[in-house]
């Protein structure tokens, strides 16, 4: 007989649709969004959910385009799990968790084609706008990809493009009225699998025990724009189908917070 562990005990509660903070398996925490939280950023937002607090800040610079896309501006998403935000995070170079989180959020936003990168071109082949989004947890409590995407989108909505002079120099202090052109609100929903049960928005403690997870980025109309499977266990095709439809439904709820 296998011994009962913290993981099996947690799953027994999940089987009764109960989580230690009182939520049901497919229930997100209450999410609040504040915009304009950093005066030095060109756009910023803070997302709070339970004991999680995440801040995203946008900076817009002028740069040179990549040779293969001479008439397109650039988007860069970066995430760093600050040592401040949780005991388990160490300082120094970003670990693989930070890198994966940044790349999945980047993919969700980029592949949604929400940002019309052609509109960020100033002089084809010479000067473009580079939009950088930095996402950090101030207080880490799980589900960084989903909460980080919301923070990033809210910060992008809040952003205003700085004044660019004729000579290409940037006046960072004086922002124009022009927002970053966004045509969609891409949202990432990560569904976590425990044994054969599906859970969304885990806390840090719950996150320690999942078997596999699948992040689904969706557009406003539900069209998937990014996928990322994580964890060492596997999914059946039926589970994947269920998760995509769940992500569409939950994505709609979360998108409502950004409107």
């Amino acid at each position: 007989m296998s011994q009962e562990t913290l993981k099996t005990h947690l799953e027994e509660a999940f089987a009764k649709n109960i989580r230690t903070d009182g939520r049901k398996l497919l229930e997100f925490r209450n999410i609040t969004i504040d915009r304009g939280v950093s005066s030095t950023a060109h756009g910023s937002a803070r997302v709070r959910a339970g004991n999680a607090e995440i801040i995203a800040g946008v900076k817009i610079d002028v740069g040179t385009p990549y040779p293969d896309t001479p008439d397109e501006g650039a988007l860069m998403v970066n995430a760093e799990f600050l040592a401040m935000s949780h005991r388990k995070h160490e300082g120094g170079r970003p670990g693989i968790d930070s890198i994966e989180t940044a790349r999945v959020i980047d993919r969700t936003i980029r592949e949604s084609k929400s940002i019309d990168v052609k509109k960020l071109c100033l002089i084809p082949g010479e000067k473009i706008l580079m939009v950088s989004v930095d996402i950090v947890p101030i207080a880490y409590d799980g589900n960084m990809i989903d909460l980080g995407t919301i923070a990033a989108m809210a910060a992008l909505q809040d952003a205003r493009i700085p004044t660019v002079h004729e000579d290409g120099s940037v006046d960072y202090e004086n922002l124009t009225e022009n927002p970053v052109p966004l045509s969609h609100l891409p949202i990432a929903v990560t569904v976590f699998k425990y044994d054969d049960m599906l859970v969304v928005d885990p806390t840090e403690v719950e996150e320690r025990y999942y078997d596999a997870r699948l992040t689904v980025g969706t557009l406003d109309d539900g069209t998937p724009c990014a996928l990322q499977k994580g964890g060492s266990a596997s999914f059946t095709v039926e589970e994947i189908e269920e998760i995509i439809s769940l992500a569409q439904k939950k994505g709609d709820e979360l998108r409502g917070l950004l409107k």
């Binding site: 011994q3 913290l6 509660a13 009764k16």
Partner: protein
Amino acid sequence: MTAKLHIQERQIVVPGQVLATGLEYLPSKGTYRHNDTIRANRIGLVQIDGKVIKTIPLAGRYLPKRGDTVVGRISDVLISGWRVDLHTMVDSVLSLKEATNEYIKRGEDLTRYFALDDWISCKITQVTSQNLVDVSMRGPGLFKLEGGTIIEVDSQKVPRIIGARGSMVRMLKKATDCNVVVGQNGVIWIKGEPDMEVIVIRSIRLIEQNSHLQGLTETIKEFLEDLTGNEVE
């Protein structure tokens, strides 16, 4: 200079705050004298006993003390025992002879008894000046904690969670029928029906949040009775 008290009993004070002036008063724990002034040296609740002033800490990580019952996680399996993570600044060691009454042969696989990430309740038997800690599982109420839920609280709040002569934790157990082990190190193990565990955790968070206030026992009693419908006393 005449002696003067600048604070009241049970007032919350912060580091550097003046508690008393004049040489008549005596500084005790959590306070210090600088010239003729007694000040607080940590965040705490003032306790005045005649002329002696001390503060009861309101926050702070656990400092291991001999005789304390603590909850820990097996963090390593050694040649002749186990390393136990007590959520404090150093790991402690559980030796073979302190772990079990069974005879363990040399070279036997120790994970048969305790494997990595198993949780145990144990007693601190020795603390050196350098905070090297030995623990033992010999004694009543010390056992391997199978399954259940682990939560962490500020170790300074543990006395309130246990209550006077165990009254608070007894109440939690009775109302919810959960098994609850409160370690002095601020690690708490709870095992029961999932919905009852949720009530225990929420109650503990309430005690933690209001630990500096009086009348908590009554409040929690009423809280538990209202939610569970069970008489707790």
